[in-house]
């Protein structure tokens, strides 16, 4: 069995560049990475069909072994259609993200942000230490609850407060609550909140 070296090298380069782009933070680059990966995979399937150069169409003079395998080409066609749809969808998400937040970056997930917000001091774990809170609390402000703080309680999935890190923490509870809107499954939500 002969192998088309050029195509193999092209495939390898596409895979490596695709993986590299996938590890970037910018969504557009991730999209480009995904496009390269899917197309490299299409090349791989083409290779699976055997060596190139055989007859693609029916010819009554040819022996059965001299046709190229049509199945991988059919598989590739399907895969191309699917990757086209996915690419279009990701593009629309990038555009949406841009209109909402003016950013083309993959953002930290909820758990990451929660961990990042926690101070190194944990009231439950480190309570045995004598605690001197006078440095941190004024006499007229109430002590802050250690774990289940207001910010955390407001940021719950299903409520879009993704931008809350930027917002100053407000002790007024109702003000927070009023920022929420019901999220139905209809497309009526525009999430204007994030446009700040």
């Amino acid at each position: 069995m002969t192998v088309n070296l050029t195509l193999l090298v092209v495939m390898g380069v596409m895979y490596s560049v695709g993986v590299y782009l996938l590890l970037e933070r910018s969504m557009t680059r991730v999209l480009l990475g995904i496009m390269l990966l899917t197309n490299a995979t299409n090349l791989l399937i083409l290779h699976a069909g055997g060596a190139p150069g055989f007859a693609p169409l029916y010819n009554k003079d040819l022996d059965g072994s001299e046709y190229s395998d049509p199945l991988p080409q059919a598989l590739i066609l399907t895969a191309i259609v699917i990757s086209l749809a996915t690419t279009a969808f990701i593009l629309s998400m990038i555009y949406r993200s841009w209109t909402l937040a003016r950013r083309d970056e993959i953002q930290d997930d909820l758990e990451d942000r929660r961990v990042a917000q926690q101070s190194a001091y944990d009231a439950e774990d480190d309570d045995a230490m004598p605690q001197d809170s006078s440095e941190f609390t004024d006499s007229d402000t109430p002590p802050v609850r250690p774990r289940h703080n207001e910010e955390e309680a407001t940021e719950s999935p299903g409520h879009h407060r993704a931008q809350h890190l930027a917002a100053p923490s407000s002790p007024d509870y109702v003000e927070h609550a009023e920022g929420h809107r019901h999220e139905g499954h209809g497309p009526e939500d525009t999430g204007e909140e994030g446009r700040s």
């Binding site: 995904i34 290779h47 699976a48 909820l110 999935p157 409520h159 497309p187």
Partner: protein, 545 residues
Amino acid sequence: MNYDFAQLAPLAVVIPFLGAAMNMLIVHRNRLQRFVTIGAMSVTLALNVMIMITVWNQGPQAIHLGDWAAPFGIVMVVDQLSALMLVVSVVVSLAVLIYAAGEGVADGDDEGPISIFYPTFLILVAGVSNAFLAGDLFNLYVGFEILLTASYVLLTMGGTVQRIRAGVTYVVVSVISSVLFLISIGMIYGATGTVNMADLSMKLADLPQGTQMQLHLMLLIAFGVKAAIFPLSFWLPDSYPTASAPVTAVFAGLLTKVGVYSIIRTETLLFPGTQINDLLMWVALLTMLVGILGALAQIDIKRMLSFTLISHIGYMIFGIAVGTEAALAAVVYYIAHHIVIQTSLFLVAGLIERRGGSTNVDRLAGMLKISPLLGILYMIPALNLGGIPPFSGFLGKVGLLEAGVARGTGLDYLLVGVSVFVSLLTLLALIRVWIRVFLRSVDDAEYPDPVLRSTTVDGKRPRTSGPASRDQSSTFAGRGAVVLMPSFMVGATTALVIVGVALTVFAGPLFDLADNASQNLINPDRYIDAVFAPVGQGGVSEEAQ
């Protein structure tokens, strides 16, 4: 001689697609859309039940599309496992659909802009059915892509900041797992020259050990991402809870189970009896432990449920790794149980959010007084998931543990111990939510939602939220008076909880079916015979032999 309903199995994919197409034509008429969608799903359900009865009586059946003989044409195969999965998935989707329709009616979506929820939902169901019916790897891939593309749309529906953020992660992870799957298909085709699973089951064994191992691992990684097995599961708890309640419910119930279903096929049909089972055991152990520890750390009900979902995937992987007939029967039963229970819990979480204004346990309290019905609806599936006798969760787990002990290696005993421990932790996580959300008084809550105070106790509670609560309630701020507990939403949830109880009541026949399914999984000869039966005759029926 009754009619051979199994030959109609492709309709389980075609009917939802037709329904979706009709929905697109009447895109501006929401009420009509609702009827069409629920009608299409009901017809599919009836058809699937008939298919299951046929397959139960006659064994695995293959449908040769376009009468092309087996390794060349596209084959759809229904055996007991796929038939059971088809029925359970459509039952659950129908309940979720009625729930979503009830929510839409209650929130006045009829006046809203064009709705793409119903057609997308139908396409999701078609994709799931296609994956369960697929007789070749590439058709399985297409089924996955159909359901994934529909799930992208459903997850990001509304396009809020939260959902777009979660959607990007979800889409990228899903696409990468699909690319891995496609690469494995390409390599398998290169190595064997076929993608038909029955054909592969005979040809893969002839490959060199190393090649087999590589193809096997690649398939497992691709399916592992979709099934949310431990090192590949981090996308799930971040993306699922951000979607709306019915969407999360159907995702949690169905999508991961399609991954588990594919793993079962890989392990039993494609690569039976390979040495990879010890690895699967360890992965199952870690999935259980890491999932449930994550669940314990959550203060949001939906996120907590997402983590328990991951944890319980571990049980299924445990059963698959044990791989005996008893273990696979328990896995089949456990999957059916888990689809129903997990979905009903997410639906209840949606109702709690609606009634109490939040799913955050710091904001909720005293729900038992406000709505005792909701308490019952939460408690039954919660006990069920935690594995309290006599519920189906207990039966499924006992089946798994018995199978583990019966094989009896040291690793098996370790897994048995860990599953009991994880089961207790599941109960702890669920009961903690129960105590904080339902039992404690509103005054004990850290940040009680205003809607909890503004409604009077049971018996006098208003059916709709009054002006006072409307102004302050976090979920419904800025909207008109809303029905807090629409009867269709409660009805659909109740129906699904009852189905969950029915899994316990009818455990006997169901376990028979599961046993039957697992015999065919362990010994795939009948599956292969059905696929290679002479075209035009369909499967190898009992009468023919």
